[in-house]
Symmetry: C2
Subunit: 214 residues, 2 copies
Amino acid sequence: MMPRTKGQAPLTREQIIRAAMQLVDDEGMEKLSMRRLADTLGVKPMTLYYYFEDKSALLYAIIDAVLAECVVASEDSWDNRLRSLCRSLRGVARRHPAIFVAAMSYEQTVPADFAIAEAFLDALSAGAVPPDKAVRGYHTLITFVTGFAVDEIAGLLFTFDGTQTMLDALPTERFPQLHRHRQYLTAADPDQEFEYGLNALIDGIGAERQEQNS
Amino acid sequence: MMPRTKGQAPLTREQIIRAAMQLVDDEGMEKLSMRRLADTLGVKPMTLYYYFEDKSALLYAIIDAVLAECVVASEDSWDNRLRSLCRSLRGVARRHPAIFVAAMSYEQTVPADFAIAEAFLDALSAGAVPPDKAVRGYHTLITFVTGFAVDEIAGLLFTFDGTQTMLDALPTERFPQLHRHRQYLTAADPDQEFEYGLNALIDGIGAERQEQNS
DNA sequence: ACCTGAACACCGTTCAAGT
DNA sequence: ACCTGAACACCGTTCAAGT
């Protein structure tokens, strides 16, 4: 927007990434263009190419930055660490839904993906879960969290505003079950369901871990 | 590609949707443009606007068509119907990964989303699962399937080709757990894990349903 | 080291028009 | 009813250049 004044400190990759995150959070992924982004930074489009190879390199950096917001606690019991890790990841998805789904569709694995997997395995190891079961536990939990987050974003849990009117508008003959279940669908509290599911899965993992300390 | 010859039958929405699905499956979502799509149909770009309001209306139709590939069996036991429904949905995601993730990031709910939810609730009702537990069962299963499918596509399960070399390339000091678990990570069979998780969840639902027939 | 202008090959879409 | 050309406001990116 504002043109940069003369003796200003040079741009940094971090500034660009932050501005891009802001832009996508506010206006959606399809509004992210090199030209618009440059404009919000008070710079000409080509300047961005000094910091990033191309648009996909910028996207890579944005995705990594967002996933890196997932906080990895390490000062708690193994099961509480898993809980906070999962809640933190869901929080990331809620704060940056557009970037989160982009991360899920992104072909490459970003460094933060490894950091998250490492944190899961670390907590599971701290709980003396043997390696094969730890891998399965990681799969179970990451599937649950990303599925829940994605379904929330996509509206598949029918917990968004306006679900009631949307369900009421459906033809009863074609969707008798949705009609019959509509009060339970709209009554569902996503936070509560998340905690419920999370605890059930962690209990399951706890039940099958070896009880002896490693 | 080929220009349309004179007395040809007019285009249909279905033809356009099929061509668009093909294009996205082959070349990815970012290669879908009205101009390229028109070209593959031997028609000028503006012709498409006779059939679809704009690009997002076309995308809506593509997403609905893909999700509608999810087959809804109705001639089996309630639990087998749930199994086949979940497998079918995962199959859709594997056949059309780019469109599937687009569906998960699409703001609107498409008709096929309702059809799938209806099918889940119908099978659960057939199993005499009471309405509140049926809604929770639907949430649990849809979360599992979409999470699993998305994680497979995003590579978060580390079951894709080249995982071994990718893990070996990671610095051991920063990722000791990934290093320690690498053989179990790469040995995991996604089909088997999907079936395992699916059965566990359906067993759980079966255990809490009321045994009496409604 | 950091930033830019001009140019090229794209893109979605409006509007008025052709058959 | 079905399809189009011309035009407009965009877009990513290359390349050569400015300080």
